[in-house]
Structure formats: structure tokens, C-alpha cells
Amino acid sequence: MMDYGAAIGQQLINGVVLGLCYALLAFGLNLIVGILGIMSFAQGEFYMLGGVFTFAFMQYLGLGYVTSILASILIVAFIGALAERFLIKPLAEKDMEITLLGTFAISIILMNLLEYIFGNTPQKIFTPFKTLYNIGPLVINQQRLVIIIAGILLVLLFNFMLKNTKFGISVRATSQNKVAANLVGINVAKTYTLTFGMGCFLAAIAGALMGPLSAVYPSMGQNIGLKGFVVIVLGGMGSLPGAVYGGIILGVIESLGAAFISSEWKDLIGYGAMILILLFKPQGLFGRKGAGV
């Protein structure tokens, strides 16, 4: 009986870790969906870029893990901002579905370009955080602990920034009313570009943090991009706290499902839940009625 409890506890820890990574990715996706009104299908690829760049900096430039993460997430944020400025912005002026298709095209380009450069062999990121900690019968390695701490800090940081800084206020103002924001002197185009870059930044951190726990390879973003949508549908489109709760719920469900039901079928739970929620509770589990995009 004790063993069973310990196994569940262990999977809960793993689930929360995975869930925080989903939460970071989805938090970024929700910023993009909520503020720009664009469903980005490239979010998984920015997650992948975070992981692959981190690996590349460590492998080819000999940088440390933390330095590599910092360098890669800044580069990914910059790539994201460029993509918004030069590709997504002109499309968004046309129509929503064309924009959606545009992000889809960006994801195809990035994934295959990276595969051309690095090949599609799964690579392992070697983390310096290797110590194992015992908490009673449970074991947690340092990398997972780092993810938990970094995830919580980042969510709090971004939440604080959106609520209290000038930039955050202009972001929220733009999401509420684009025209009015423009009237009071907010540079809407710049806000959009920065928001998109920020969304990509969060996805890249998630990819770089998850790298040591699973492998990194150019097509790793394919499923996770859709998972991002699962999370924001669970939590409610445009709801930032919802993205965090939704991410952790999905992570925990998947970990428990993989351990106690079947690891092959675990993805079915998330996709199935998303379809059901879209049909019966489209505002999400935590969203207010009428909220959304």
C-alpha cells in the first residue's frame, strides 16, 4: 500500500514538473492568443528552438547550461519578434485564418530548417543539476527542482510585470481595446511585436528546461504545440492563470495516465479532454463566461 502511495507521489512530482513546462509554453501562447488574437501554430517550434539552441551552444561553443539557456532564449525571442514584425503582422491585416496558416507555414519552415542543420537524431542535454534529493520515500533530482522553482518564479515575474509595469499596462490596455490604446498614445504595433517575442521567450525556456529530462530534436515541437492549445482550452482562452492551472492539470494527468494506464495512449486524454471542453464548456474550466477570443 505504501509503495502504491509512493508511486503516485512520485508521478505527481513528475507531473507538476511537466505541467510547469506546459504552463510556461501555454502562458506564452495565451499572451499571443489573448493580445494579438492570433492562434499561433508555431509555438511548439519556438519551444523546440529553445531546446535545440541550448544543446547547440553547449555542444559546439562549449558554453555552460545556464549561459546556453540565457543565450538561446534571447535569440528565440528575437526570432519570434522578427517573425511577428515581418510575417505575421502583414498577414493579420488580411484575415484570421490566413494568419493561422501563416504560423503553420512558419512552423514547417523552422522545423525542417533545423532538421537540415542538425539532423533529426534525438540529443541529450547534459545538465549540471544532477544531485538527487530524498524526501521520505520520494526521489527528486535537482533538474526537476530547478524547473519547479524557475517555473513558479517566471510565472510570478510575468504576472507582476503585466500588472505593475508600464509595458504590462500597455499590453493589457491593447488587449482590451486596440483603438483606445492607440488613442492614449500606446504604440500598438510595438506592443504586438514585444508580446509575440515574449510568448516565444516563454516557450523557449520551457524547451530548454525540459531538454535534460527528455531528448531534444527538431520535430519535438510538433505534439507540444498542440498540447499548448489543449492547456489553454482547459484553462480558458486568454486567461493567464488558467494557462498555469491547465498546464499543471495536464502534466499531472499525463504522468499518472502514463504510469497507471498506458504510456502509449496518454496523449489521448489531453486531446479528448480538449475536444469535449470545446464542445461543452468553451470558456474553459477556469474561464469566465463570455471571456475568450
Binding site: 501563416g102 505534439n223 492549445f229 496523449d267 480538449m274
Partner: protein, 324 residues
Amino acid sequence: MKRLIDKKYLVLIIVFIVLPFLVPSSYVRNLLVLAGIFALLALSTDLVLGYIGQLTLGQSAFFGVGAYASAIIAKELGIPFWISIIGAIVIAGVLGYFIGFISLRLRGGYFAITTLAFAQIMKLIANNWIELTRGPMGYTKIPSPSIFGLEIKSEIPYYFLTFIFVVLIIIIIKRLIDSPTGRAYLAIREQEDLARAVGIDVFRHKVQAFVISAMIAGLAGGLYAHYFRFISPDLLGIQYTSMALMMVFVGGRGSIPGVLIGAGIYTVLPETLRMAGTLRMSIFGVILLLCIMFMPGGIYRSIAGWIKRKSKKNGNIVQQTTVS
């Protein structure tokens, strides 16, 4: 006027009949067969995308399910191709009804992610229902179709088999689009609320178009399976959906010749881009992006429009079939 158009089609048909005998290698003939199969997939995608105006990201599900259905029926039950392919069409259609009935309740982006989620679920099933599909290793030794005891196996006979199906499907789609039902589709695409206001049952028409589209994709999948005689769960992967989207958008959505040109370009380009290796898909992505940015109507409309303007400038009156 009518005879003129007929003559034009006749010329095209003759060109396509002679074509496989003119090309130099079996590799190119192989590409021609592939172009036909992918043209069917693109036409099926365009029915949803171009005529009822819904961005579907799940077309690979029907392509893959059609392939598996026909292969399994033909091999496990020992039933000839001509019946198994009908089985594939029916099964893809039933699945299309199920998925369409659920996802078409949602609009725009929500519809897109739901269809994508369904495609991922189908891929998951193909990978893990090992007893039926043999899982990720793929399903092998699929029987070739045969007619009067002759196997249709090499490129040229299979080319003609595919060609007949393509012509048949083009005729069906054309008649459908020209019928009152087709006009209802266009009304839904242009102004959904207005269409509803004039009494069109929007949801029923959308589901109907979605089911027909799924059936055509299933047919394409079946043809693919019996040609390569090997299939794997990759067929349900997103790369086939993105391929179909590229054909439709590059060629020109909502136009049959446009989509066919898109399928042709997509299949011929790999040959010219061969040195590029895996970079190829990236180049296609760039082409797709450029097309939606600068040629939202697709290549066909741009060229047709250019010819029209040019001939007007010269003062000639040229018969031009209208492009909807």
C-alpha cells in the same frame, strides 16, 4: 462556345494519356502516379477549404484511414481491390461524418485545432492498435489491384487507374459545385450568417461537404496503399496535411484547375529541388508563406488574370472560362 470548351478538355485528356509514354524514366512516371494521388488529396482538402471556407488541419486522418482500411480489407479478408477501395471510401466517410459532426460546431481557429487533434488521435490509434495495423513498423505486402486476372502493378497501368479516378472525381466535384448545393456552399463561405438568413441549413451543408471531402481523401489513401504496397502511421501525420494545404493555397483555393496545378507543382518541384535534401520542406514552407502574402488567390488566378489583362490590352476578345 460549349464545343470550344469540350475541345479544350479533350486536348488536355489526350495530353495526359500520352504523357507517361513521353517521360524519360520510371522515376518520373512514378512521380506522375504520385501527382495523381496527391491531386485527389488536394481536391478533397479544397472542398472544405475553398468551397465552405473552413481551415481543416485533419485531412491526413482520412488519407491514412483510407489507406489502412483498403489495405486491411484487401489483405486480411482477401477481397479484391475494387471492393476494398469502396470499403475505404465508406469508412473514411463515416469517420468524416463523426469528426465533422463534432468539429464543425466550432468556428475558425477552434475548428482547425479540433481537426488537428482528431488527426493526432487517429495517428495514435494507428501506432498503437498493433493487432490491426501492425503499429509503427508499418503494414506490408498489400495486394496490387488486378483486372481480368492482370495485375495493375507497374507505373503505367497504375497511372491510368489513378487518372480515371482523378477525372471521375473532377467531374463529380464540378457537378456538385455547379448544383444548387454547390451554390449553397459558396454562400456559406462568403457570408455564413446571410446564408442562414436565406434559409440554407448551414451545418448540414458543412457536414455534407466535409463527408464528401473525407471520402475523396479516403480514396486517395486507398490508391496510395495499393500502389506502394507498404503503409505506416506516418500517412496520418501532419506532413500530409501540410502538403495538401500547400497544393491548395499555392495553386489557388476554390478552383479545380488551380488545385491541380498546385498538385503538379508540388510533385515536380522535389525533382528540381533534389540537391536541397531535407531543406525541401522548408523551401515549400517559404513558397506557401510567399503565396499567402502576395498571391492570396494562388498561382492559377494570378496567371489567368495576367493573361486576361494582357489580351484586353491587345484588344483581342479571348474566350475565358470564368474562375469562381
